[in-house]
Symmetry: C2
Subunit: 390 residues, 2 copies
C-alpha cells in the first residue's frame, strides 16, 4: 500500500532533516548527532561546515526565511520586538568572530571506561572552529529597548524553533553580563565560514556564545527572553551540569550544581591515529592535535609525552592560518581567545622502538591544567571530560 | 666600640622593618616572609591583619604619610599627576572589596617533594582573605586623564617604594582591561579589614588586584605608569611564570611563558592537622579547609576523600560570615567571586579505624579542577602548586 507507506514516511518528524556528509561519524541518527573524524579535525584551522560536528536535540525545523521573525521580549524590554531576517541584516552592522564550539559531552567515550554514563558516545570530535558572521546580541538587546543600567534582569534566555512532539522547544540561557558585555562577542549568526548558516547549524539564525559550552548557542533561534531567572528548560536545569564522582542517579539533585557555561581547558591528539604503526625510517615522529579553553582564556602551552606521561615535550602552537577577512574576525585582545589552537610536536622516535604511549595536556592563560585521569572527574552525565588524552 | 656597633646596626636595611606577631611561620627574615599557621587560617572568614601572610621582596619602606605622593604617568596621561594620601581619600569615593590574595608560591613545599625548586618553602598558608578599603584604580586613571577609548595603552605598571641597594624598586604590571573594567574591582587600598593598611601590607597605599596572583598587588605604591608594554621588572619578566616539567635552569627561556595573572583553582585541608590522632569516640570526623580560584571564578564544589582519593564526599561550603559593612564590600555579581570559601566536611569515621588519608580537591565555576599530583605540574620556580591536598 504505497499511500500508507508514504504517509508513514512523512509522519517521521525527522523526514525533513537535511542531507549530511557521509564522512561524519554518527552517534545517533534521530535526532542527528555526529562528529568529525580525528584525521579531518586538525587538517584545517577552520572546520568545513559539512564536517563540523552536528549536535541536534530534536528534528531540524524547516524555516521559511521570508516568514522568519526573531522575537525579543521579557523584563526590561518595553514591548516585544519582532525582527525579520532582512531587518537583522540591515539594521545592525555585520560582525564576525572566530570561535570554537564544543559539546559538553566531547570525549565522553573515554569517561565511560571508568563507569557507564548517560549520553551520546562522543569521541574527540564533538568540537569545531568556524568564522561566524552576524550581529551582536548586545546591539539587538539595546535596539529592543534594554537599558544597560537595568538591575532586575539577570539572564538572557534563548528558545529554539526545534520542538518535541508536545510542542516543547529546546532552550537555554546565559547570564546577562555575558550577553551584554562588548568583550564577550556574543553573536546572532547568519553565516558560518562565509556561507549562509546551514540548516543543521541553525538556519536562519543561531546564537554563538564564544567560550561557553555549545548547549547555550541555541540554533534556529525563535525567541530571546530577558528574565530574572535562568531558562526553565530541561537542558538548563536538569542536564549539562557537573557533579562529584560520588553522585549517582539515586541521589543526584540537579538544583545543587551550576549550569555549565564556560568550559575548562581541553586538548586531544588527532595524529598519529590510535594503534597506527610508526616506522623509525619515517624520520621524526609528528604528533598533531587541538587545544582550547573556555571563557576566552588562551591556550599558552601544550605538553606532549611519548612515554605515557613520564617525560614531556613542549608542542609548537600553530599560528592560525588567516586570510585578510579572517584576521578582521579574529579577536586578538586578551581574554578573547575564543578559537582553538592547533599544535604539532616533531620529535625523534625513541631509539629503543616498541610501543609509544602518546599523551597530551594543555595549560591555559589562567594556568589551569587538565586533570590526569577520568576517575576523579567522572560524573553521571559524562560531561566535562577533559582528562589527559592518550 | 658602641658607636661602631650602632652604626653597624643602622646599616642593616631591614632595621626599620615593623614588629611581627610571633605566631607567624617565618620562611625568611630578611626580607620578611612568613605564613599563617594552618589552624589559624580557617578560624575566621577574614584573616586578621597580624596573622595575614607577609610576602616582602625587599626591606619595608618607612613612608611619611604627609609627604607621600602617588604619581600617575605614561602613555595616555597628558601630564603626570601627583596625589597625596589626603587627596586620594577626598577626591574619590571610598570603595570596599572582599578579596583573597595568594602568593604564586603557596604550597610550593609539596612540589619540592618531586624535585627541588628555587623559592621560599611555603606550606598552605601563603594566602589570606581581607576586606580592603580604598579607591578604584579605574577612578584614579580617569581622573589623571586616561581616555577609555585609548588604543595604545596595553598595560598598567606599578612601582613600589621598596628598593634594593642599587635603588631598583619592586614592580609589576597588569593588562589594561583588567585595570579599567569596572567589574574587575581593582583597588588602591588604604585600609585592611577596617584598619589603616599595616606597614607590612603596603602602608600607605597598595594595589589590590582581585583574582590575580599576589605579586601584582604592589605594596607601598609609588608610581603608576601606563604603557604599551609590561613592566620590565625582574618579577614581571623573569619570575612568576609557569613552565613545563621538562624545562630546567639550563634551558629555561622566560620570554616563552606569560606572566602569571589569574591563578588556577586551589584548595587545602587545615583540620585535622597532619598526623593528628582522631578518636572514634569523638563522634563524627570534622574536616575543614579553604578553596579559591582566580579570575573571579567561584568555587562551586569541594570534594573530600577519607581514603586517599578512592571515594569522595561533597563538603559543605560555608556562607561567609558578614556584618552589614562586609556585605556592602562583598561583590555578589557573577564572575566577581574574589573571596575564598571555607568548607567543612562532617562524616562518620570509617568503622575499621586505622590510618585516614584525607584529600581535597575543588571545582570552580568554569568547572576547572585541580590536578591529581605534583609531578606533571612541577616547574623550576615551584609556582602554581595546586595539586590535590593530602
Ligand atoms: Mo552539547
Ligand atoms: Mo608571591
Amino acid at each position: 500500500d504505497e499511500a500508507a507507506m508514504s504517509s508513514g514516511v512523512s509522519s517521521d518528524p525527522y523526514a525533513c532533516d537535511p542531507p549530511r556528509h557521509p564522512v561524519l561519524i554518527v552517534n545517533s541518527s534521530k535526532p542527528f548527532n555526529a562528529e568529525t573524524p580525528a584525521e579531518i579535525l586538525t587538517a584545517s584551522y577552520f572546520t568545513p561546515n559539512a564536517f563540523f560536528y552536528k549536535r541536534n536535540h530534536l528534528p531540524v525545523p524547516d524555516i521559511d526565511p521570508e516568514a522568519y521573525r526573531l522575537e525579543v521580549r521579557g523584563e526590561g524590554i518595553p514591548t516585544p520586538v519582532f525582527l525579520s531576517l532582512e531587518e537583522l541584516k540591515k539594521k545592525f552592522p555585520k560582525q564576525e568572530v572566530v570561535a570554537t564550539l564544543q559539546c559538553a559531552g566531547n570525549r565522553r567515550k573515554e569517561m565511560t571506561h571508568v563507569r557507564p554514563v548517560k549520553g551520546l558516545n562522543w569521541n574527540i570530535g564533538a568540537l569545531g572552529n568556524a568564522r561566524w558572521g552576524g550581529v551582536w546580541l548586545r546591539d539587538v538587546l539595546l535596539y529592543a529597548g534594554f537599558q544597560e543600567d537595568d538591575t532586575q534582569v539577570k539572564h538572557v534566555q534563548f528558545e529554539g524553533r526545534d520542538q518535541d512532539v508536545t510542542g516543547s522547544a529546546y532552550g537555554s540561557s546565559i547570564p546577562l553580563h555575558k550577553a551584554v558585555a562588548e568583550k564577550n562577542d556574543v553573536l546572532l549568526a547568519y553565516e558560518m565560514n562565509g556561507d549562509e548558516l546551514p540548516r543543521d547549524h541553525g538556519f536562519p539564525i543561531r546564537v554563538v556564545v564564544p567560550g561557553v559550552v555549545g548547549a547555550r548557542s541555541v540554533k534556529w533561534l525563535h525567541r530571546i527572553v530577558l528574565s530574572r531567572e535562568e531558562s526553565r528548560s530541561h537542558w538548563q536545569r536538569n542536564d549539562y551540569k557537573g557533579f562529584s564522582p560520588s553522585v549517582d542517579w539515586t541521589n543526584v539533585d540537579f538544583s545543587k550544581a551550576p549550569a555549565i557555561q564556560e568550559l575548562p581547558v581541553q586538548s586531544a591528539i588527532t595524529e598519529p591515529a590510535e594503534g597506527a604503526q610508526v616506522l623509525a625510517d619515517d624520520g621524526d615522529l609528528v604528533v598533531r592535535g587541538y587545544a582550547w579553553s573556555g571563557g576566552g582564556r588562551e591556550v599558552v602551552r601544550v605538553d606532549v609525552s611519548l612515554d605515557g606521561g613520564c617525560t614531556w615535550n613542549v608542542a609548537q602552537l600553530e599560528p592560525p592560518y588567516v586570510s585578510e577577512d579572517d584576521r578582521n574576525a579574529q579577536q586578538t585582545e586578551e581574554g578573547r581567545a575564543w578559537a582553538w589552537k592547533l599544535w604539532t610536536l616533531q620529535a625523534p622516535l625513541p631509539a629503543e622502538g616498541g610501543k609509544l604511549e602518546i599523551v597530551c595536556k594543555a595549560v591555559d592563560s589562567s594556568y589551569n591544567v587538565q586533570p590526569e585521569s577520568f576517575e576523579p572527574i567522572w560524573n553521571l552525565r559524562g560531561v566535562l571530560s577533559n582528562a589527559w588524552h592518550h
